[in-house]
Symmetry: C2
Subunit: 281 residues, 2 copies
C-alpha cells in the first residue's frame, strides 16, 4: 500500500521532477500531481513519468494532497507554501526544496495558520542543469536533505517530513533554519559566487587552454543567474560573512606570492588540501 | 616500424607514466626507459607496462634516447633537461611537461649548447591525482598540449615535438612561453589558488552539508601543495595580475550584495555563465 494517496509537487524542474520520479519509482503514492504555470512543461514532466496528473493552479492541484512539496525559485516559495496551505486539506504536510531557509520560513510562519503542518527542507542535490529532462529517480539516493524545524514545529511533522526524504533514499540532517543558512553560505553560496567570478575573469582568447581543473572549478557558474541572484540575496548576511573570510584567505595567498614566501604558500595550500581530502570524491 | 628506438621519461608519475603507456600502446618506440630516483616507483611503472627499462640516473637512462621527456616538478625541470642534454646523443629531442614555461625555458636556454634540440611543452592533462597508478594510455587523447618555441627553436624541432604529442592523440597549440604563462595563470593557477581558499575556509562542522557544487569547485585543492607552491611561485607575476582581476570581480559581487543590487548581481552571474557555457562540459 502506498504511504500517500496524493503527492503534489509545485514546480516540476530538476528537483520537482526527480521527486516525482522517485515517488513513483518507489510506489510511495497513488497519484502525483504536478503543478506549474505552463501546460507544455507539465506535459513534458508527465510524459517523462514524473507526475500522473497536472494542474495549472496550486488551488486546484493541492486540493487532495497528503503532502505538498514546493520546488519553485526561492523568492516564490513562501507565497506558494501559503497558497498550498490554504488549498490543501488541513492535515496535509507542507515542505519545500529551497536553497535558503531562514527568510522563507520566517515569511511562512508569520502568515500560516497554527493548525497547518509546514517544515522547511533543502535537498542538497541541485546542479547547474535545470528542467525535468534532467530529473532522475535516484537523484536523492545517498544525498543529504537538510530539514529545518523551528520552535513552532511539532516533532510529528518534523519526523514525517524527514521520513518523506528518507523514503526517497536521502540521509536527513536536522538543523535550525539559521544554522542551515550559515553553513550553506560557506558550502554552496560562496562557492557559486567564486566559480562565477573565476569564469567571468577568463578571457575568451584563453578558453582553448582551459582543462579539467578550470572546468571543475567553474562548472556551477553555468547555473541560472536569476535563481542564484535570489539565493545570494536571501542569504546575504551569511554570504557576506563567508565572503569576508574568503577574501582574507585570498589576500594571504597574495601576500605570500608577493613576498615569494614558499613556506607560507605551502601552508595555505596544505590547509585547503586537508579539508578537501577529508571529503573525498 | 616504431618512430623512435628509445624514448626516455624522467619522472614516471601520472604524466610520465601516461606518456609511457601511450607510447607503448601506440607502438611508437621499441624501448621506453623510465628514469627516477627510487627503484620501487620505477618497478611499479614497469609492472604497469608504462616503461620497458628503468634507470636511477639521467646520465645512464638518457644515453641512447631519441627523445627525452622530463616530467618532474617544475623546480627540477631545467636541471633535468640540462642533465639529459649532456647525457643523450646530440641528435636527441628534449622536452618537458611542466605547468609553467617562461622560467624553465629561460634557465635551460641560458645554459644549453646551441647544438641541442630542446622545446618546452605543457600537456593540459594534469589532475589532483598523482602517481603512475593513475596513469592511462588515453590521457592525452583529445587533450591540448601547448608547445612553446622561442626565437632559438628551429622549426624542425618544434614540429618534431608537436608530432610527438599529436602521436599520443593530443591537439597541439603553439604559444610563446610568456603567452602560455599569462594564459595558464588565469585558466589553471588562479583557479587552483581559489579552489584551495574555498576549501580552507570551509569549517569541519560544515562538511556534512557539502554537495556536488562544493566538490567540483574544490576538487583540485587536493593537488600536491609542494608542486603547486612551485607552480605559483614560478609564475607569480602573471598569477598576481590574474588574482588582482579576480579580487576586483569578487569585490564587485560584495558591493552588489551589500547594496542588495539585484540587477548587478544578475549581471555578474550572467557574465560568468556566458563564459562557462562557451566551454561546455
Amino acid at each position: 500500500m502506498s504511504r500517500f494517496k496524493t503527492v503534489a509537487i509545485v514546480g516540476v524542474g530538476l528537483i520537482g521532477g526527480s521527486i516525482g520520479l522517485a515517488v513513483r519509482d518507489r510506489k510511495l503514492a497513488a497519484a502525483v500531481v504536478g503543478i506549474g504555470r505552463t501546460a507544455p512543461k507539465l506535459k513534458k514532466a508527465k510524459d517523462l513519468g514524473a507526475i500522473t496528473e497536472t494542474s495549472l493552479t496550486i488551488e486546484e492541484g493541492a486540493e487532495k494532497a497528503d503532502i505538498v512539496i514546493v520546488c519553485t525559485p526561492v523568492s516564490d516559495i513562501a507565497g506558494h507554501i501559503l497558497q498550498a496551505a490554504a488549498a490543501a486539506p488541513s492535515t496535509a504536510l507542507l515542505t519545500d526544496a529551497g536553497s535558503t531557509k531562514r527568510k522563507i520560513i520566517a515569511d511562512v510562519e508569520a502568515a500560516i495558520g497554527a493548525d497547518k503542518h509546514f517544515v522547511g527542507s533543502h535537498p542538497l542535490a541541485g546542479s547547474e542543469k535545470t528542467g525535468a529532462e534532467h530529473a532522475r529517480a535516484d537523484l536523492f539516493n545517498g544525498r543529504v536533505v537538510v530539514v529545518t524545524p523551528t520552535r513552532r514545529t511539532s516533532n510529528g511533522d518534523m519526523q514525517a517530513v524527514a521520513d518523506f526524504w528518507s523514503g526517497l533514499g536521502a540521509s536527513v540532517l536536522i538543523m535550525t533554519p539559521d544554522a542551515h543558512d550559515r553553513a550553506l553560505a560557506s558550502t554552496s553560496h560562496l562557492p557559486h559566487l567564486v566559480a562565477s567570478a573565476v569564469a567571468a575573469k577568463t578571457a575568451q582568447v584563453d578558453l582553448p587552454v582551459t582543462a579539467g581543473g578550470w572546468r571543475d572549478v567553474t562548472r556551477i557558474a553555468a547555473g541560472d543567474p536569476e535563481l542564484w541572484t535570489q539565493i545570494l540575496l536571501e542569504n546575504r548576511e551569511h554570504v557576506l560573512k563567508s565572503l569576508a573570510g574568503f577574501e582574507k584567505t585570498v589576500a594571504a595567498f597574495r601576500t605570500a606570492l608577493e613576498r615569494g614566501d614558499k613556506r607560507r604558500l605551502n601552508q595555505l595550500l596544505t590547509e585547503g588540501k586537508q579539508v578537501r581530502d577529508a571529503v573525498g570524491n
